[in-house]
């Protein structure tokens, strides 16, 4: 008998071990992962959000970047080079971007002496920086994208996100192992049943979107493969640059020589590159301008729509020149991707992760599945405490109650606090004055301050009240957003509708839908709060006696 039981027992203890891993690994990672998922999901619509966040751009120009003539492009490059030579001659890196739909000027960026990124938008007419009232300085929707892969913390942030993404894969696999009824409970969501509902919600949001969750976590790691797994390259190449040069079949990065050499007329190189690629250029970069090692690279024009349906996207094309004498160093012609299978595999995974291979229908699918992922993190973190609310499991001895309280505060700040910070970011975009220095950075700082404020708030208030108040604030901010927009800019849902600005209509409608869902949550929480107050009041005297 006992021998027969052995495998079953082993299986059971394996499951228990996986359960432990899932519970604690999941809990520790849930706050960071919720942040990554919520901001990453919002970031699916980064360009559309940027469009809404720059209301002056639509008002000022009805300019179509794809319709620029060759002369206009060349003139723009000339103006940009003149500006950079006058204002950033000591820089190590320049970049010149031609106008786009959200940036109706010449975008010049450079690295200053401290290696900090600087950029400005030049007017197409004058070549001087555009007045701030015509171009609100903002990171726009890219803030959310940056947030989700690096928390605005550069390399440290990329490692931080990678670490938690790895835990997510562990939590997904261990979750599959401990879920005994994947198929039996496939369509099951029992609402309004306390702990049961939290578990159902956690399971359903994960199981129904499992392919997506596995894909998005895995591809997210693969994008930064060379950062997360550097050992292979470091073991075989004394200079990692050489590895990339070989892999991409491109000339190696040239180190600075310290010998001065003027940059030739970039517009001439730009024009030559256009001829070589057989298509218009879109942006160019210059490494080490002013040094004899200077190299410039011109990239071809591309329109996302041309690549719809392609998981392995064609090359947009680029040409590399010696920037001191105009010699061609490399031509990467537009057309079929030809960098070998490993790079092609990585490229396919990047494109799957970025959700830009199929227009709005694919973006919406990703948005909904991403929100389901965020819901999976949130319900998991809440479930941890719901399970322990009735009866403490005493994992930390005398400190258990205190640890639970810390988890509770972090849950509130990470979930509803982040939601408030995200919607608050849109308010800051309209409320921060135009002429403030580093305006774009202030919007992001404001986002973090607001988040911090929510953390303090959740630490100071009883849990149910903290949830209620933060979701009430979110509801107000979301539902009043169009009104605030009307007061500050004169645009809002209705005027967008009348002028046919469907992107802004979609943005404000989506915000309103989230406001309404949050309103439903607030009403639910209020009912619950009054119910518990009614029950707990007569209980107090007896508590005092016992």
């Amino acid at each position: 008998m006992s021998e027969l039981n052995q495998p079953a027992k082993e299986q059971e203890s394996f499951r228990q071990a996986m359960g432990w891993l899932h519970t604690w690994g999941g809990l520790v990672a849930s706050w960071a992962l919720f942040t990554i998922f919520l901001t990453g999901t919002i970031g699916v619509f980064d360009e559309d959000i940027t469009h809404w966040m720059k209301p002056e751009v639509t008002a000022v120009s009805d300019f179509d970047p794809a319709a620029m003539t060759e002369q206009q492009r060349v003139a723009a490059i000339k103006k940009a080079q003149a500006y950079l030579q006058a204002h950033a001659s000591d820089s190590h890196f320049w970049r010149i971007g031609l106008p786009t739909e959200t940036d109706p000027g010449i975008r010049v960026s450079w690295r200053d002496q401290q290696n900090a990124a600087q950029d400005t938008l030049l007017s197409l007419k004058t070549g001087e920086p555009m007045p701030v009232v015509e171009n609100r300085e903002t990171e726009g929707g890219h803030h959310f994208v940056h947030m989700h892969y690096e928390f605005h913390a550069g390399m440290a942030g990329i490692w931080f996100v990678g670490f938690f993404t790895m835990i997510m894969l562990v939590a997904l696999i261990s979750g599959i192992i401990i879920h005994k009824r994947i198929f039996k409970d496939f369509f099951t969501f029992r609402q309004n049943k306390g702990q049961r509902s939290w578990l159902d919600g956690h399971n359903a949001s994960a199981v129904l979107t499992l392919p997506f969750q596995l894909m998005i976590a895995y591809t997210g790691l693969v994008i930064f493969l060379s950062i997360y797994m550097p050992a292979g390259v470091l073991a075989n190449y004394s200079n990692p640059q050489q590895f990339f040069a070989e892999l991409l079949d491109e000339p190696m990065h040239r180190p600075e020589t310290g010998v001065h050499a003027d940059v030739v007329d970039l517009s001439v190189l730009f024009q030559r590159a256009e001829v070589m690629m057989g298509k218009p250029g879109r942006f160019m970069s210059v490494e080490h301008p002013g040094d004899s090692s200077a190299v410039t690279k011109v990239f071809g024009w591309f329109d996302e729509k041309d690549y719809y349906g392609q998981l392995l996207r064609d090359e947009i094309g680029n040409v590399q020149f010696d920037a001191t004498n105009g010699d061609v160093m490399n031509l990467n012609p537009p057309g079929e991707y030809d960098k070998g299978t490993p790079m092609a595999v990585q490229r396919v995974m990047r494109i799957m992760h970025f959700a830009n291979f199929g227009g709005y229908s694919v973006r919406w699918l990703y948005f909904i599945m991403g929100m389901a992922g965020a819901l999976m993190m949130a319900t998991g973190a809440i479930l941890f405490l719901v399970k322990r609310r009735q009866k403490s499991l005493n994992e930390f001895g005398a400190q258990t109650a205190r640890v639970y309280r810390v988890i509770e505060v972090l849950n509130i700040a990470a979930i509803s606090g982040l939601a408030v910070a995200c919607i608050g970011y849109f308010w800051l975009n309209r409320l921060i004055p135009f002429d403030i220095a580093d305006r774009a950075a202030w919007e992001i700082k404001g986002f973090f301050y607001l988040w911090l404020l929510m953390l303090v708030h959740s630490a100071c208030r009883p849990a149910t009240k903290a949830w209620l108040e933060q979701w009430s604030l979110f509801t107000l901010l979301a539902l009043l957003l169009p009104v605030m927009n009307l007061i500050t800019t004169g645009h809002w849902l209705v005027s967008y509708w009348q002028t046919g600005d469907w992107v802004s209509v979609g943005f404000e409608l989506t915000v309103l839908v989230f406001g309404l869902m949050s309103l439903g949550l607030v009403l639910f929480l209020r009912r619950k709060l009054t119910a518990t107050e009614r029950y707990s009041q007569p209980a107090k005297p007896s508590e005092a006696i016992s």
Binding site: F189, L208, G309, L365
Partner: protein
């Protein structure tokens, strides 16, 4: 949203609702009728067939690889809608399923 996408959404939803109704637990919420073992088998096979049919328009428009990615995505999203409907208004889950089958056939006839 393209016709292919609408078609795939309709078929995926219908297929998943068929699979869910083949389970006694979900059928109970909708009707007092019980299905025989054969009926359950027929329902499951039909639903699975519809599920594969839902891939065809995606394949046609997006190609095999991209089509597969989009098909799986549509499957996930329609399943979320189905689960919410099964929970908050099970009768509506079935009505929407019939509506979806109807519109899918309509779209097919229009082609």
């Amino acid at each position: 949203m393209s016709v292919a996408m609408m078609m795939s959404v309709a078929l995926c939803y219908a297929a998943m609702s068929g699979l869910s109704l083949a389970m006694p637990r979900h059928l109970m919420d909708v009707t007092d009728r019980r299905l025989t073992a054969t009926q359950v088998r027929v329902l499951r096979w039909t639903a699975s067939l519809v599920l594969i049919l839902a891939y065809l328009p995606m394949w046609q428009v997006w190609g095999a690889g991209t089509g597969f990615v989009v098909w799986v995505s549509v499957l996930s999203v329609t399943s979320i809608v189905l689960v919410l409907l099964l929970s908050y208004g099970p009768k509506w889950a079935v009505r929407v399923a019939f509506l979806m089958m109807l519109s899918a056939s309509f779209l097919w006839l229009m082609q």
